[in-house]
């Protein structure tokens, strides 16, 4: 109850020790479309629902899963425009890292820098936290990696994770289905099944998006026909 008096200002702690604005940001994420990621032994897969506000929207113009470097991709849950800003900044940071060290940025470094940006917006005046959680999937010299970054700026490495509307069901499903020796193909099937769990309506290549990265270290977003093929395999 006392918390609500502290909910207007980002830079003020509430008596219980929370920054209420960040809690609200997490609520924004929690009401966003479901997205998930699974780390396999030889790659990472990320997937998200792509529910468009109307059938009139040209779905080919919308791409939720974005590339940051050739070997790192990112998907979000929450406010799309906020994720665009973060992706733009991350791309620039990756380029700056390369210009400075002549080495492609390791996944952990990129995650750290993106998280630092998100944290900045929780400790500055006149700004609000980002209303997105990001799932960053990459493959570098340390193998396949999957990180989740929250609006507070905290990040964790996950073997499999989900965020958005259906998070609890999806996570339970993933806990049951995940195995340590899963390969990329199995991971893609598991990702599709997890999305199917909470999907309202008919799932197809047009209303979900899947991004994969394998040992070739090239992140790519699957085309809708490829997704339809996987859906046919899963059925």
């Amino acid at each position: 109850m006392g918390d609500s008096q502290y909910s207007f200002s980002l830079t003020t702690f509430s008596p219980s020790g929370k920054l209420v604005q960040i809690e609200h940001a997490l609520m924004a994420v929690g009401s966003g479309q479901t997205s998930l990621g699974i780390k396999a032994t030889n790659g990472v897969v990320v997937a998200t629902e792509k529910k468009l506000p109307s059938i009139l929207v040209d779905e080919t113009s919308v791409q939720k899963i974005q590339l940051v470097t050739p070997n790192i991709g990112v998907v979000y849950s929450g406010m799309g425009p906020d994720s665009r800003v973060l992706v733009r900044k991350s791309r620039k940071q990756a380029q700056q890292y390369f210009r400075l060290y002549k080495e492609t940025i390791p996944v952990t470094q990129l995650v750290r820098e993106t998280a630092a940006v998100m944290q900045e917006f929780t400790q500055s005046g006149g700004v609000r936290p980002f209303g997105v959680s990001l799932l960053i999937a990459g493959y570098d010299d340390n193998g396949p990696q999957l990180y989740q970054v929250d609006p507070s700026g905290s990040y964790f490495s996950w073997k499999a994770s989900a965020m958005g509307k259906n998070v609890s069901n999806a996570k339970t499903f993933l806990e049951k289905r995940y195995t340590e020796d899963m390969e990329l193909e199995d991971a893609i099937h598991t990702a599709i099944l997890t999305l199917k769990e909470g999907f309202e309506g008919q799932i197809s290549g047009k209303n979900i998006e899947i991004g994969i990265i394998g040992t070739d270290r090239q992140f790519r977003v699957l085309s809708s026909s490829e997704i339809d093929d996987y859906l046919a395999e899963v059925e």
Binding site: V85, R88, R91, K92, Q95, Q96, R99, E120, G126
Partner: protein
């Protein structure tokens, strides 16, 4: 506050140091020689795309600083740039524009265009008023076709079917002017470029060593590093030298006994040499 777009920094280039340099020159102080790339760089357009060529000598005044440097720089998978002038400047400016092009590709989702690289380069060079000493031959193939441009240190550009830059440019241009024609095949284009670079290598002191060639066509780029090696290094005998006993006259022989004592302590090693024969040749 975080800005959504990155505004250019206020104030621009500070010319203070340039004024200082001029003052020093007037007083008679010599500028230290910086590594220039001497250089012959060329490019030509053939029927399927562009061919770029460069020599591989980097000079520091009269000294060859690098016998096999790379003067053809990557800008985008379909765009390469040869650089003449100050080596650091060409490296830095091409790296910077390459980085900007990559960000642009992510933002647009499209292949980079040669004119984009050209405009980024010339705007940068112009804003530095010629102090960034980079003379470039930029070539590539994009959706609008093959393009070849030259960029001068002050920021002016030319669009040409064949171009040469650097101290060996006149030697190379003579080859192009006599032998270039439209509609060359790939093999003819590569041969002509190699000939032009060789003309620069043999007739210009600032250029030398090997020929690098880069062929860019629609959908494919081939970087032929050290395509020709017209100046092979002849090394001294690989067997090495044998120093036979008696080749050097022995003047004095002195035998010295030396003692070695090994003491092992927990915290430190101590030793002196024990047995040994030391023959002094003086």
């Amino acid at each position: 506050m975080v800005k959504m777009t990155d505004l250019p920094t206020k104030g621009g280039f500070s010319f203070d140091l340039c004024t200082r340099n001029q003052m020093l020159l007037d007083k008679g102080v010599q500028m230290p020689p910086f590594r220039k790339t001497g250089t012959t760089i060329v490019g030509l357009v053939f029927q399927d795309g562009v061919v770029l060529g460069a020599d591989t000598r980097a000079t520091e005044g009269p000294i060859v600083a690098d016998k096999n440097c790379e003067k053809i720089h990557f800008m985008a998978p379909n765009i390469y740039c040869c650089g003449a002038g100050t080596a650091a400047d060409t490296e830095a400016v091409t790296d910077m524009v390459s980085s900007q092009l990559q960000l642009h590709r992510y933002a647009t989702g499209r292949e980079s265009r040669v004119v984009t690289a050209l405009t980024l380069l010339k705007s940068h060079l112009f804003s530095y008023q010629g102090h960034v000493s980079a003379a470039l031959v930029l070539g590539g193939v994009d959706v609008t076709g093959p393009h070849l441009h030259t960029v001068y240190p002050h920021g002016s550009t030319d669009t040409l079917p064949f171009a040469t830059m650097g101290s060996g440019s006149l030697a190379a241009m003579s080859v192009f002017e006599s032998k270039y024609r439209e509609g060359l095949t790939r093999e003819e284009g590569i041969e002509l470029v190699a000939e032009a670079i060789c003309a620069g290598i043999f007739n210009d002191l600032g250029s030398g060593s090997n020929v690098d060639v880069c062929v860019i066509t629609k959908g494919q780029t081939e970087y032929l590093r050290n395509y020709q090696l017209p100046n092979p290094r002849t090394y001294i005998s690989s067997k090495g030298y044998s120093f036979v006993k008696g080749q050097t006259a022995v003047v004095v022989t002195k035998l010295v006994h030396v003692e070695a004592i090994f003491q092992l302590r927990v915290d430190e090693w101590q030793y002196r040499i024990n047995w040994g024969l030391v023959q002094c040749l003086c």
